[in-house]
């Protein structure tokens, strides 16, 4: 069953808020909390986009992104990166690896919703 957004984030409180605001905006959500699980879930759930935190246990966000971009099936999957520390560096690497957008923590909820909307288009239903 296809879902709209897969969220890969290991901080429970952040995950909870993200789930809430994105569901509220009308999208179907599923979530994982480590890098390995993210790769498995992308294959299984075939989301329309991935919200990917950089700091994940088991495999880092960059690792996951690199892996996704190296496979034909997921080469064009829209990926939104949540970066945190050392912002210049992380943004540059994400760009090089093929991320489609970034949001830097700490963010305003509206920023995330806006970035997702940019990547998925407007057809997700009203907020």
């Amino acid at each position: 069953m296809a879902i709209d957004i897969l969220i890969a984030e290991d901080e429970p409180s952040i995950l909870e808020s993200l789930d809430f605001i994105l569901s509220r905006a009308g999208w179907t959500i599923s979530s994982v909390s480590d890098g390995e699980a993210a790769l498995v879930a992308v294959k299984r759930l075939q989301p329309r986009m991935l919200v990917l935190d950089v700091m994940l246990p088991r495999r880092s966000g960059f690792d996951v992104l690199k892996q996704l971009r190296s496979e034909a099936a997921t080469r064009t999957l829209p990926v939104l990166i949540l970066t945190a520390k050392g912002q210049q560096q992380d943004r540059r690497i994400a760009e090089e690896l093929g991320a489609d957008g970034f949001v830097t923590k700490p963010y305003a909820n509206a920023e995330v919703v806006g970035a997702v909307r940019d990547l998925l288009g407007d057809d997700a239903g009203a907020a």
Binding site: E11, I14, S17, F20, A84, K85, K105, N109
Partner: protein, 540 residues
């Protein structure tokens, strides 16, 4: 201008009612040259200075104005700082400052030292902040916490129709994250508290250097203690690891373990004393010399701890780190004095002509231990050949130094690349010797050798160090190392300096760094092939 050395020579000569011509004849130079020296128009050092001092029956230190020499060297180092490069110094300016205004010279040297230390502290801090894994982790936790709180708070504030259950959930999330952040904040503040104890102007290594230099590396009180401790061991049996082991077991219930696992996993040292368990552990690959030395040290620490404390109290050392290192240095001095008793070593050294390998065998000591001891044979009236001592790591960094009056060794950092101390790395475990000449004409014999610990595992990197002794060529014929070198042939000398920055040999092919005084740069060297048009005012 009142010149330190020239003035003193002249003064002393006159007080002994010796004519300039007579003194000149006695030391083997022309009267006009002596006149130039007495008027400080020529430098004097090395062998010539020794001969003059001998003829005038004056201690070389008094004649050379040792304190002023040190001050001059400190000032040279301060003025070698790149930030002072473009200042139009007069030729003899530093020497004049030291002669005329010693307090100001000392102030300048002190300030520069403090500034250099502060600069290096700042660099260290910046590095630490950038790369400290704990700080970086804490900062990440702060960011996550704030992200969660902000997101949850926004939901509470902006979502109009939030259900009660949901409201409760997000309020709980904020609570939870706030508590977590409190811990992180405490941790972070704790980290900075620890870091801020890092102030101080001078590096601990430099503080200890100063203490040792001030005492001229001879501590009579420690020598006396060492004598009585050695006598105690001798009464218990022939001096060596076996007797020391028995003595430590009998008097203090200390057991020795050689080999086997380290007291803690990953302990990097090669020996460790556990006071609670009363056990001394040695790594299996330690040499006999190391075990003997450390057991002697342990014995002295258990029996005569006050001796070292007393010396520390008499020194001006303040920071905790410096005190710890100084305690170790003085403890080593004491151990060395026990393993290598003064009178016996002096007699043997004179007899074998300072053959360090012979002395090593005879006393079961290491090269460095013997070299160290030779430097400390400075009891007034019963001195050995005066040696200077330097130790370097393979990166070229000087890690220990005992100066020789007249030979200005760099305080820190690196030395001239031509010195044998570095050449020794290219011929490991062999003694490398060279006769060197500095630009003031003074000549020395350098003797260097690498030393290293035996590794514990295939993967353990072997980091040797190089130890160098230096003595005036005048004394070289009292040593076995002068044999075979034609020390009278000056053309065979290796032409060296203290370090490139301070060296005035502008035509040296081994130069690695620009000299402090750009005057005399050889055209064609260290610049573009096609010489640029020189703007007016630049020194030739």
């Amino acid at each position: 201008m009142r010149a330190p050395i020239g003035f003193r020579i002249s003064n002393r000569r006159k007080s002994l009612r010796i004519s300039q011509a007579a003194l000149a004849r006695l030391v083997g130079i022309s009267p006009s040259y002596l006149n130039l020296i007495e008027n400080n128009k020529r430098d004097v050092g090395g062998a010539l200075l020794n001969r003059i001092a001998a003829q005038l029956s004056i201690d070389i230190d008094d004649l050379a104005g040792r304190a002023e020499q040190k001050l001059l060297q400190d000032l040279e180092e301060a003025f070698a700082d790149p930030m002072l490069e473009s200042l139009p110094f007069q030729p003899d300016e530093r020497r004049e400052i030291v002669a005329q205004y010693p307090a100001s010279a000392a102030a300048l040297a002190r300030l520069h030292r403090a500034y250099a230390a502060a600069r290096s502290n700042a660099d260290a801090f910046a590095d630490r902040l950038r790369s400290d894994p704990l700080l970086s982790q804490l900062l990440h936790q702060v960011l996550s916490g704030i992200t969660a709180i902000r997101s949850s708070a926004e939901i509470l504030a902006d979502v109009p129709d939030l259900g009660e259950a949901e409201r409760a959930r997000f309020v709980a999330a904020i609570s939870r994250e706030a508590v977590g952040l409190t811990d992180v904040a405490r941790n972070l503040i704790g980290q900075f508290d620890v870091s801020s104890q890092y102030q101080r102007g001078i590096s601990p290594a430099r503080e200890i250097d100063d203490m040792i230099i001030e005492r001229q590396n001879y501590f009579p009180a420690l020598e006396t203690v060492a004598e009585s401790l050695r006598a105690e061991v001798d009464r218990a049996g022939p001096f060596g690891v076996a007797t020391l082991t028995d003595l430590l077991a009998g008097r203090f219930g200390v057991r020795i373990h050689v080999g086997g696992p380290a007291p803690e996993p990953g302990y990097p040292g090669h020996y460790r004393f556990d006071a609670r368990q009363r056990s001394m552990w040695f790594h299996g690959a330690t040499t006999l010399a190391t075990r003997q030395f450390q057991l002697a040290r342990l014995f002295s620490e258990l029996v005569a701890r006050d001796a070292v404390e007393h010396e520390l109290a008499a020194s001006h050392i303040e920071t905790a780190t410096a005190r710890r290192l100084a305690a170790r240095a003085l403890g080593s001095y004491l151990a060395g004095a026990i393993v290598l008793p003064y009178d016996r070593v002096l007699a043997d050294a004179e007899r074998c002509r300072y053959d360090i390998d012979y002395l090593r065998q005879h006393y079961n000591a290491s090269f460095e231990q013997v070299a160290h001891r030779l430097v400390t044979l400075r009891r007034p009236g019963a001195e050995g050949v005066p040696f200077g001592f330097l130790r370097s790591d393979p990166a070229g960094r000087l890690t220990k130094h005992f100066p020789l009056p007249g030979l200005l060794l760099p305080n820190s950092g690196h030395a001239c690349p031509l010195w044998a101390i570095y050449g020794a790395f290219r011929q490991p475990d062999m003694i490398v010797r060279q006769a060197v000449r500095f630009s003031d004409g003074s000549r020395y014999l350098f003797i260097a050798r690498t030393t290293q610990r035996r590794p514990a595992a295939f993967r353990e990197p072997m980091v040797p160090s190089s130890v160098m002794l230096a003595c005036d060529v005048l004394h070289a014929d009292r040593t076995v190392y002068g044999v075979g070198l034609d020390l009278t042939d000056h053309s065979a000398d290796v032409l060296v300096g203290p370090s490139c920055r301070l060296c005035t040999r502008h035509d040296c092919p081994a130069r690695q760094e620009e000299a402090l005084s750009p005057a005399g740069t050889v055209p064609g060297l260290r610049g573009p092939l096609v010489a640029a048009q020189r703007p007016l005012g630049e020194p030739a």
